[in-house]
Symmetry: C2
Subunit: 204 residues, 2 copies
Amino acid sequence: MIQMPEPTKERLLHLMRILEKSEASGVTSSHIEGLTGWSSYTIRKDIAWLGGDYGSSSGYHPSVLVPAIKRALGLDQERRFCVVGLGRLGSAYLNLDASAWEEFKLIAGFDTNVNRVEILKSSVPLYPAYKMADIINRFAIELALLCVPEATAQGAAEKLVAAGIQGILNFAPLVVRVPPEIPVRNVYVVDALRSLSIQVKDNS
Amino acid sequence: MIQMPEPTKERLLHLMRILEKSEASGVTSSHIEGLTGWSSYTIRKDIAWLGGDYGSSSGYHPSVLVPAIKRALGLDQERRFCVVGLGRLGSAYLNLDASAWEEFKLIAGFDTNVNRVEILKSSVPLYPAYKMADIINRFAIELALLCVPEATAQGAAEKLVAAGIQGILNFAPLVVRVPPEIPVRNVYVVDALRSLSIQVKDNS
């Protein structure tokens, strides 16, 4: 089977979000073009990757297209994740409503500070960091939010990989080095501000 | 002047981060290729946009290349921003060390809940949301982190735009609609998990 190209996947993901939030029963490709800047041709080609026929004269129907995208991207199943590092950001994520995570399920929080693990209130079980490998294996946790400070991020990432984690969302200001088969997405807020900032500069 | 292409800007931004964190005095393009997957040709072409000569036999020198990238991307000046919505995530950002924000400067926090504004401890001045336009203008705030719940995100974005904000980092699970000249970056954590998750799926 031919692999779906990465940009197609990213666009379908974004499209899925637009469709989920859309109140209309039919969303036209020109409406999508207005929101995203992608040409109708690109949108049609991306959707063609899903197979089947999702368009009509009134546009795409979110109720059929969203599940088709989820299936194609493997987002139709529960994915288990953990939070590593329970400082301000980590504990903010720890306390979101379970429903906010949609198909993702927060299974555990970890911190090297045993005291913090004992004191923090959370509806999710918390563990000292040395139990990481045990818990990740026992509960088949696939993904991790890495919310530790910069100085300990590389070490924590390596422990996660050794424990069998399959992907890392990295909030630290650091490009962590892990084996190439483990995807890492860097979501450091200052980098996002910088990306935003260079777009602002263009407009002025 | 020919505009630098968007993908070049994004790569230079990422490259800047790699160089900033690099301990070596010279970083070779093959090292960069190993970390990013970009070809040496792409890296050289991107750097050529900066003008000048930044390479040598020992690779690129972070101490000269980082400032050149900052200048080219307009990141060599202070940028003022505010946090809108002081729930868990917003107040986590409110309490980061000023140094964590690098060239960005957090000037103010806003919340519609006057009580919360009065009670929260913060080294940054907090204001009720109705003062947004006044404060954004008075302190020349350019950017906003939008940390409000989904239900109020569109309204808050519109108020920010009316107040003269120039760019929005949107943490809500919503594609907010604003005039096309105001860039918005969506940094919703579940979307980042989904992006990560589709990369994991490919590997398995």
